[in-house]
Amino acid sequence: MKPLFNQQQLQITIERLAHQLLENHLDFADTVIIGMQPRGVYLSNRIVSKLKTLLPAADIPYGKLDITFYRDDFHTSPELHVALETDIPFSLEQKRVILVDDVLYTGRTIRAGLDALLDFGRPESVELLVLIDRRFSRELPIQPDYVGMTVDSVAAQKVKVLWKEKDKKDEVVMI
């Protein structure tokens, strides 16, 4: 098991990602943030609360997206996935969407997420923010716009992002 981030590094990286978003979106007037269920939501929660301290006046629309019903492996995956809550109480029509997930690997989750997003309206643009980008393992032409850390890994390895709210500590490890 190889540690990639400790708690302090994780915090600094999240702050950097929030500032990078600010650079491109300034006042967040037409921008919304969507966290991917299940584990991208922990990251999007942190990013949104950081943005609130940086932009106390802005009211940033924030939703959560579950892609279970949009998966491309319904018949081939070894187990049936149980859906989690999708909560997007606003239209995405003409909005600039920032999609947030913890780890980008094959790109298939994001592919399903893009499909799901379109059911909530036609966004002006969609950007992707991930904490960990496992490059060289993509199965679809999908690339992130904001990256916490780029990792070279082989398929046998696993990257696990741990969150205090769920796993009792903030840490990123490669197994």
């Binding site: 579950d66 019903f69 319904f74 049936l80 149980v82 859906a83 809550e85 059911d119 909530f120 309206g121």
Partner: protein, 308 residues
């Protein structure tokens, strides 16, 4: 997580875990139905046939909508106008349909046990949409979903089933489901419409409408099914309405709130008066709306069931 069964033949075969999984999955589909685009691509490679050997409005439309909202391909079959009138057997009919690469069968039949019989002879998953006087599992699931949505939970709730318990598949499925999920159930109606020994299923029996209404939190009022009664079991509909019909004056005199449910179609003025059916106490149209989400959950979980 997946269901313990390959078919949904009846609530009798389900575990409390199965029921909980179906209801939780239905929560997600109810959310899908509120979106601008009320459709997900999940079952786009699945074909489902709706075999209706008996009349139906709500159930058939509800299943068909559920299938379409899941992007499944659907075929509708009704016994009238088919080769059934030429004498084709049930198994032949179904095998011919399945040979055209159909994956699931939703069936309503007037013979109790027809879907169980079919399940022994074909490979496709079967969903029972009502068989004779046996079970109507998806109705009980949507009733439970509606109670849970209105009152927050099923466990410990006091639910009364009123009317034609003898001929009602909705009653039997509701009894199985509610007792499995820890609700208290009383059946109430004239003695001729309540089967003997029904208390062995874990329910209480009452012949007194008023007392039962005073006891319950939810009143699920069932339809008087004259078409299934081979001999008269009460003198007249007017007499039935007098002793067992629920009206606003009666509910007002109880000084408490009761949730009113009915699986439809309503005999207005017989088991339920219009001043109750159309009132704020009634969640009858919520039941119909929830039916689509619950059926989507059943189809999704059965289609995704992995071979062992």
């Amino acid at each position: 997580m997946s269901l313990s069964v390959k078919h949904l033949l009846g609530i009798k075969d389900l575990t409390p875990g199965d029921i909980d999984l179906i209801l939780r999955t239905a929560d997600n589909f109810k959310d899908v139905l509120q979106r601008p685009i009320k459709k997900v691509p999940t079952l786009r490679d699945t074909t489902i046939v709706n075999l209706f050997y008996e009349n139906s409005t709500r159930t058939r439309i509800s299943f068909e909508l559920a299938e379409k909202r899941l992007s499944a391909d659907t075929i509708n079959f009704t016994a009238s106008g088919s080769s059934v009138s030429k004498g084709e057997t049930l198994i032949d009919t179904v095998n011919n349909i399945l040979s055209m690469k159909v994956d699931m069968v939703v069936m309503r039949h007037s013979a109790s046990g027809a879907p169980h019989f079919l399940a022994r002879h074909i490979n496709a998953s079967i969903v029972n949409a009502g068989d004779g006087i046996n079970e109507h599992p998806t109705q009980a699931l949507l009733d439970a979903f509606s109670i849970r949505e209105k009152l927050g939970s099923l466990k410990g709730r006091r639910v009364a089933l009123f009317g034609d318990i003898m001929h009602s598949r909705v009653a039997l499925s509701n009894i199985y489901l509610l007792t499995k999920m820890g609700a208290e159930v009383t059946v109430c109606g004239p003695p001729t419409l309540i089967p003997k020994h029904i208390e062995k299923l874990g329910v209480k029996v009452s012949y007194d409408l008023r007392k039962t209404l005073e006891w319950c939190e939810v009143a699920n009022v069932l339809r008087i099914q004259l078409e299934r009664q081979s001999k008269p079991l009460f003198s007249t509909l007017r007499e039935y309405a007098l002793y067992y019909g629920i009206n606003k004056a009666l509910l007002d005199s109880l000084k408490k709130e009761i949730v009113i449910m009915h699986p439809g179609p309503i005999n207005r003025g017989v088991e339920l008066n219009s001043d109750v059916a159309d009132s704020g106490h009634s969640i009858i149209l919520d039941q119909v709306q929830n039916g689509v989400a619950v059926r989507m959950a059943v189809l999704y979980l059965l289609a995704g069931k992995k071979e062992e």
